[in-house]
């Protein structure tokens, strides 16, 4: 039996504005998402902000009803049988919210243990196990409001695991977490998957997805644009080279000029304070150093590094192509 089955899931949000004549606005957040996750698999859902990742997760974990389509978790329909689904899932989301911050970690876990039906006899042992797993032993009696974001995130994970869920939904768990805490988080998630828990993870961090996920679906504009192993996604840009160029003050017109250089397949910019890192994807072996750098005419440049394409490059290429692509594409593993 599959752990998760999503079949043509759609979700439309309706909002009304104005009075007395209200205007109805409809936003299609998810437009026919189909995928399957096997038991024990660590499945990643990647996409830009507003792509439909969280909406998809919320339909799968019973918080939102699909507008159309169906989804099942271990055979239980998420719309018709939400309680059976809730017994088998854990839900963890990133950020500061979702905990009673004027209470201690222990009080939070005791309360949620009751809500998740953890037996009175097992509670103490289970909470101790989880505090140990997420490294909060010794801090469990402190109020959560004094916790760092990393500690809160670890407490979230402990909360989500109280009832030994078969499927764990992790919605951007590492958002705003420092690198050391993020590494610990990745280790915890990998351990859970190794122990047989099915994990559906959404993240913006490509290295995290590359390291953890068995398979990845890239979602943009409410549709799945690519689905496959990290390796197979990377192979989509295997015919390219990447130039990382440090620039200071490269405006949109400069980036457009770079994109127009013959042989350039795409360019993305990441701002890092005063400096920008411009990643330019070119045809493999095209040796475009000189014309690309010439396109930066008048912009102060720093280091220029040529490298192999990464998952992030594949992701950027998929998302940039998304506007022109209507149908989801299955990438062979």
């Amino acid at each position: 039996m599959l752990a998760i089955e999503a079949d043509a899931l759609r979700r439309t949000y309706t909002s009304r504005t104005g009075w007395p004549r209200s205007r109805r606005t409809e936003t299609e957040a998810v437009r026919g998402v189909t995928f399957e996750v096997k038991p024990g698999e660590l499945f990643g859902l990647l996409g830009p902000n507003g792509a439909g990742k969280t909406t998809t997760i919320k339909m799968l974990n019973t918080l939102l009803l699909p507008t159309s389509g169906t989804a099942r978790v271990f055979g239980h329909d998420v719309a018709r049988d939400p309680v059976a689904v809730r017994h088998r899932i854990g839900y963890v989301f990133g950020g500061d919210r979702g905990l009673y911050d004027r209470l201690s970690a222990l009080d939070n876990l005791r309360y949620f243990a009751e809500l998740y039906g953890v037996g009175a006899r097992d509670q103490k042992r289970r909470i101790a196990e989880l505090l140990d797993l997420v490294g909060l032993v010794g801090r469990e009696k402190e109020r959560v409001e004094g916790y760092s974001r990393g500690m809160r995130q670890r407490l979230h994970i402990a909360r989500g695991l109280l009832h030994h869920p078969d499927v764990l939904f992790l919605d951007e768990p590492s958002i705003g977490v420092d690198p050391v805490a993020a590494r610990d988080l990745r280790r915890t998630v990998a351990d859970l998957a190794a122990a047989g828990t099915t994990v559906l993870l959404t993240t913006h961090y490509m290295a995290e997805a590359d390291e953890l996920c068995d398979r990845i679906a890239v979602i943009a504009g409410g549709r799945i644009r690519a689905l496959g192993t990290p390796g197979s996604l990377k192979s989509r840009v295997g015919d390219r080279d990447v130039l990382d160029i440090e620039a200071y003050g490269a405006g949109d017109e400069v980036i457009d000029r770079v994109r127009r250089v013959p042989g350039v397949r795409g360019a993305s910019v990441e701002d890092r304070g005063a400096m920008q890192t411009v990643s330019v994807q070119t045809d493999r072996g095209a040796e475009l150093h000189a014309p690309v750098l010439a396109a930066f005419d008048g912009v102060r440049l720093g280091r220029v590094v040529s490298r192999e394409p990464s998952l992030e490059d594949a992701y950027i290429a998929i998302v940039e192509e998304a506007a022109g692509s209507a149908a989801p594409e299955e990438v062979p593993a």
């Binding site: 919320k58 809730r86 209470l103 009080d107 309360y111």
Partner: protein, 257 residues
Amino acid sequence: MIRVLRLIGVGVRTHVSYMSRSPIEITFAVLVPLVYATLAVYLFRAAGDPDRLLTASVGAGLMGIWGSVLFGSGGAVQNQRWLGTLETLVVAPTPLALVLLPITLATAVIGTYAMGATVLWGVLLFGVPLDFAHPLLFLVAVPVCVLALGMMGLLLAATFVLLRNANALANPLDTPVWLLSGLLVPVTVLPAWTHPVSWALPTTWGARAVHAAASGGDVTTPLLTAVALGAGYALAAVLVLGRVERRARAAATLALA
């Protein structure tokens, strides 16, 4: 059954602890009823009713409990939204009614601060004598009244799950309900057409029991009526909550945005 009672117990303890640790919430829970109590004592004195000053203090305390339940139930659901916990509560396999009942009971428990504060305020500031007609029954009537109001709060909370701006509904319900329930002035002074509404409110019977325990009269009958009505409201809430939850999932009102 034991699991349910345990869940309610742990839930009430958790939410009372949480609400009690907010200095601003406790300040309001205590201060607002003191203003009511002061006004009530002066009104009763001006009306030439100095013998009923204890009724005024107790009535103001009841208004405090009702205010806490009303704004607490709306505020609690809204607070869970702000905290981001409403989704984690809903995604738990426990029925939503059993998730919300401890929250509404906790708001009623917090409201009892108001009763203590107004009675003490009356004694210290206005020299109101503590000559309860049935002191022991008063100590029983107040928590039972709190329970009945907490159960009524569940029905309020059920509707507040659907509304992102739940407090907007709570405001216009405050004064009419305490007026119709005879918390401060007897319902007999209200127009006859309002009486059926008054009789349908657990607050009316809870207030009648608490006032009777303070000033004399039958305590048991109104107290049992308050509990029965409260249970009826809670049952109605349980019946509608399944549908409410489904509508909230369809309308996406469980989260802030």
